[in-house]
Symmetry: C2
């Protein structure tokens, strides 16, 4: 196929390298002959509103390319909008061409207006659901030739069908660096203390596991790592902490916990309340809830905090491997569309850990949408650690640094005018 105009959008939680994927889509679409590459503002919402930016005006210069690669969070903005369920629209008469007044009709109308050949959605498993819905509904209509391609993105690394997700390596590098620096910080006192750090990951412990990488550079900790792949048992946890207090050097215990640990019915102070716009439960306060229990039960010095938003925004210490892969995955997504594919997500397939080597492929988005990939069993070691296999698998993903351009003593960012 050939390209007329294409649209690219970003969705879900930001990452440090999501703009590198945007750059990859842009440059490859231009290379393959796209006339206009439109960036939709605020994800699929921008498509409804026809809120587009001609990316020639943003990413055309080498300076801006480099800035995009070091700017965290979605340059185009994001959203968490869910499209209506497909079954009704798929089953409609194809003669009717999109049910009148439906979201799909609005999108189709915009696509016709802007003469769109392909739509690229950079996001996580909810975004892949959107890609799947669009590809399903557009099939067999007058817009049958429009290609819908997913570009994977999530610091949680929990997308099915790809070895790992762009965004994860940089978040992992920040987490590991933070634990390395915390290990130094906590080593200075020779008194018992417990420090509990909460790492993002609602459903899978990939990012929490990355805390173990701090040990590669001489850190003693984290001493205990609790991923949500294991059932959490409060009594075992307290026993683990107590053992650390009595056996570790200086009685220091540094603990990594997944945000997604299920403490319900175990910690009275735990409140896993609140839902995001997709109905996912937002567990909050795992570390704080455990801090309160440790303080009460063991009576030692204890503190907790969350790495929180920093871990998905820390472009200043991005992994070069991640940045380059994010860009390459964006380019590959365009190749997929060009070769006639639709309803697929670009993927990374790993050939080997050492030497690290990958190639790019694709997977049917139906196999990604709404699903969660947990760590394999052999990545977990006992109740409170990860295995050598996990460390060997994680290590290549945090390698390399990009040369950051600074301004006023701070990283320079590319920021769109309002």
């Amino acid at each position: 196929m050939s390209f007329k105009n294409v649209i690219v959008a970003q969705s879900g939680g930001p990452t440090a390298v999501i703009n590198s994927s945007l750059l990859g889509v842009y440059e490859q679409a231009k290379k393959l002959g796209a006339c206009k590459v439109y960036g939709a503002r605020y994800g699929i919402c921008g498509v409804f509103d026809g809120k587009f930016i001609d990316l020639d005006n943003v990413l055309h210069s080498l300076d801006n390319e480099l800035l995009a690669m070091q700017t965290p969070a979605s340059l185009l903005g994001s959203c968490r909008r869910r499209l209506p369920a497909v079954f009704f629209y798929e089953a409609r008469s194809k003669a009717d061409n999109f049910v009148k007044g439906s979201d799909y009709e609005k999108i189709a109308s915009i696509f016709k207006q802007f003469d769109v050949s392909a739509f690229f959605y950079i996001g996580g498993n909810d975004s892949m659901e959107t890609v799947w819905k669009l590809a399903s509904v557009f099939k067999g209509t007058e817009l049958n030739s429009v290609r819908f391609i997913g570009v994977p993105k999530t610091i949680d690394n929990d997308l099915e069908g790809t070895d790992h997700c762009p965004g994860f390596g940089s978040a992992a590098k920040f987490v590991a660096t933070s634990f390395l620096e915390l290990d130094r910080d906590l080593s200075v006192y020779d008194k018992p203390s417990v420090t509990i750090i909460e790492v993002m990951g609602r459903d899978a412990g990939w990012l929490t596991a990355a805390s173990a990488l701090a040990r590669l550079n001489g850190a003693k900790g984290p001493d205990l790592i609790y991923c949500c792949e294991n059932d959490f048992n409060l009594d075992l946890f307290l026993a683990d902490v107590e053992r650390g207090l009595s056996q570790n050097k200086n009685g220091r215990v540094l603990i990594a916990v997944s945000e997604g640990l299920d403490l319900k019915n175990q910690c009275e102070k735990f409140s896993g309340e609140g839902c995001d716009d997709f109905g996912h439960v937002q567990n909050a306060g795992v570390a704080k809830a455990l801090e309160l229990v440790v303080a009460k039960q063991l009576g030692c010095k204890v503190r907790s905090f969350e790495l929180s938003l920093l871990q998905r925004a820390s472009a200043h210490i991005a992994s070069k491997t991640d940045v380059l892969e994010a860009r390459a995955v964006g380019r590959h997504a365009v190749d997929l569309a060009f070769s006639g594919k639709t309803g697929v997500m670009a993927t990374i397939q790993r050939n080997s850990n050492n030497p690290y080597s990958v190639e790019f492929s694709s997977v049917d988005v139906a196999n990604v949408a709404g699903r969660v990939k947990k760590m394999p069993a052999n990545f977990i070691a006992g109740n409170f650690d990860v295995s050598k296999e996990a460390v060997d698998w994680l290590t290549p993903l945090i390698q390399g640094q990009i040369s950051i351009k600074f301004k006023n003593g701070l990283p320079a960012h590319l920021i769109l005018a309002d």
Copy 2:
């Protein structure tokens, strides 16, 4: 005077550049003829125990010098031990030479045993109290010639007598970078939200003020900055937040709060309990307490977190200005001792902001010990911001980056064997 052996120790909370000061003391002492430069483990505690390291074995090579400059937290360890009050020991009969069995006698005995000419203590205002006590008690004794010199260090920047403190610039750079990246992260959604970030600073708002530097590189926020130099008023705060929700782009409100804000009698959930070993109250939970109030009163999406220990350990994004000044202050401390001074702290005096220029001097530790320097009134702008004067003063301190050596994808650190 000439040097035989000298002792250097580190105390109080770690910083990203405290080892650069250690390096400065070491290299200048060697240059001026010191035979041995001993590093005491765990601050003054290591002196009691005679736990010393010959720093020739640690800092002798260029490789290790460079590693020391990028390793956060006290290489030698730290402590929070307070020496006994001076009045009794000062008033003792000088013929008696240190009261038998006292802490001071133990220290004097170690100093005699190791033939010590000078003692350098890298620390904050509590450490300067220790320097003052030692200088006072040793005066007029047989160890009258031993020099006691303070080397300033604190991310809080609240030491009297010096324009600013080594460690502050790097913490400020991390805080500003974090707010810059958070500003990008929070800009991606077009829905109202409140994000409250707690910055270290028990008694002064210097570090919280540094959040404003994010605006130098295009950040819209922080929208509201509350330093502990202002009295905090909950009703005004809620009105400020409400105005931000209705007036800001996307209704986004990013807030920086000092850990030391006094919320007592204003927030029921606020618990300013707990004391460190010097009796300082450890305020905890300012951001969390405010989050709960905002959620209850304004009913909007709100989250909070603390930058916590990361801000004092983030050597991977240290300010080059800070690193070099920390080293130079260490060297200057040795010069002070060599010129016969005792009971003083090395200081930085600023000649101008632009072009930035400083020189090194000294101040009587009695004017530093136990005192706190708050921000001057002209650095505060209204209830919730800092002034242009503050920004102009802060900006030079975060300039420049050191070229970090990485290993395994993570910053390489210098770590002492146990």
